[in-house]
Amino acid sequence: MCGIIGFWDKTGQRGASTGRVVLTMLEALGCRGPDSAGVALIGPEPAADREWAWSIRIARFDEETLERLEGLGAVVRPEAGGVWARSGGSLRFTFRPAPQVTVDDLERALGARRGGLEVLSLGRRLDLVKQVGSPAQLEATYSVSSWGGPLAIGHTRMSTESRIDLSHSQPFWVHGVPDLATVHNGHVTNYHQLRRRAEQQGTTFYTDNDSEVIGVYLRDRLQQGRSLPEAMADSLDDLDGSFNYLVASADGLGIVRDRHGFKPLVLAETDDFVAVATEEIALRRALPGDYRAVEPPPASATFYSMSSCPSQAAGCLDPAARKATRPVPVPVSAGTDHPAAAAAGGPAGRT
């Protein structure tokens, strides 16, 4: 059945409790997806002198793996202020890419391939952890509850059509795009057509999991000049099947609901946060308070832009600025004019 969660701390003051909120939400959805659990977190803005630093997490590596990056840049060791953390079979390290080096260059140099070495996440602010097992086990391995940052998405998996292992777990980092990750609940029924087309254009797929194609699709649209919110809106036309998916990026939190609303999704927005989850129980357990939770309408693509909060580095400390943080309404294509969206007055799926 899978469960997805998303959380954006608008205040920027929550610090480490973003991790605690996200873990609590995942635990509440553990029954939905007993197979795997994972979280993607967008951390705070890096300091000005660390703008160049990529944080990279890899799996199925060996002692020689990082030597393959020679010439592409430098691994930054802890003595020089970098991160070096091994747990759960993954390694997270800091890398300073040489000028002109792209993410694709790096993945190629590492020898990333299906069934072999895999880059689990890459970005200036993104970290992504996932594994087979429960949210509690994820916490035991990675201490998610101590993580801080403005934005996170998470996933509990019930495998329906592909194997249960680390690679097939979610969230999925969008290969080739720093600081972009997705979580999906549902079934993309034109997966094979989309995959065939993408493979013909040279894309590597790391799994047989249809959810992976969502990030591949978004990357393709971004490369064609669409913005992320526009790419999300495009997906309402180009993906078939049932899909609620969330997108975490350094720009903000995206929420897409397929045109039939086949899968459940509940959203709550207050002055302090935006929280979204497959089941309301996840919201209520993690976030006390008297707020209303509503369903985003079917056929809606909503993007909560962190930069619409003016003083992003400090978080939105000004109450007026917090109230002004509205989702960017994304035009939905013709034929999806959903009357209930207007009636419910929920997050805009239409301009």
């Binding site: 609303g261 459940p264 129980i281 939770a293 309408p297 079917p298 959903h338 009357p339 209930a340 419910a344």
Partner: protein
């Protein structure tokens, strides 16, 4: 005169523990029970018998009042999927929005949603009445076998798809109609039923009145000569 309700705080209890506490209260002679702080839990108040009134203060998860066996259940908050699903008889009132498949497969009784309903509202109803004061999402009334759905607001695409003898009364706009859905004139008895239901639940009649959707009956039996109809329906 109504007795004071027995108040149960859901606290950190599981749904099972809460439901058992409700049963214990009933066994102890209570007929009115109030649950506080449900915090989105699933399966609350399932299969309660006639003569029992359950009030839930807050939002609930899936299957609230599922398999209702005659009780009167009220939720002051929203509900998730399958509210009142497979109800045998009784009354379920939700003061909030509901998720997919509200009143799925109910046999009799009344479900009232003072809010909006999501996808597949009233799916496979076998009797009873579903009243939604707001709007309904896609595929409302899908495969209704019997029973009546009254929607004061709008219906999204696929309303009244593949009906048997169910009836949908629609007050607002609709998207694409469901397979084999046709409009029909309301009878005097339809008007009386609607008026009585709206009055009972204190719901204002929409200004434009209601339209009636029933099955065109072209999908009830398969005829080789009409197989093209099935191609578009499926």
């Amino acid at each position: 005169m109504n007795e004071q309700p027995v108040v149960l705080d859901c606290g950190d209890l599981t749904s099972r523990a809460i439901n058992r506490a409700v049963r214990a209260a009933i066994a102890g002679g209570a007929t009115r029970i109030q649950l506080r702080n449900p915090a989105g839990r699933h399966n609350l108040g399932v299969a309660l018998p006639a003569g029992i009134e359950l009030m839930i203060e807050g939002s609930v998860g899936y299957y609230v009042a599922g398999l209702n066996d005659g009780a009167s259940v009220t939720v002051h908050g929203g509900a998730g999927w399958g509210a009142a699903e497979s109800m045998h008889d009784g009354t379920v009132v939700i003061h909030g929005d509901v998720g997919n498949a509200v009143a799925a497969s109910i046999r009799a009784g009344t479900v009232v949603v003072y809010g909006n309903a999501s996808t597949r509202a009233g799916i496979a109803m076998k009797g009873g009445i579903l009243l939604v004061t707001g709007s309904v999402g896609p595929m409302a009334g899908f495969m209704m076998q019997k029973g009546v759905m009254i929607v004061c607001g709008d219906a999204a695409d696929g309303v009244a798809d593949s009906l048997y003898a169910g009836t949908v009364f629609l007050g607002g706009r609709h998207g694409e109609l469901g397979a084999d859905a046709v409009f029909e004139d309301l009878t005097a008895s339809d008007q009386e039923l609607i008026a009585a239901t709206l009055e009972q639940w204190q719901v204002a009649r929409p200004a434009t009145g209601f339209r009636k959707l029933v099955a065109g009956r072209r999908l009830w039996n398969f005829q080789q000569s009409e197989r093209h109809l099935w191609k578009s329906a499926l």
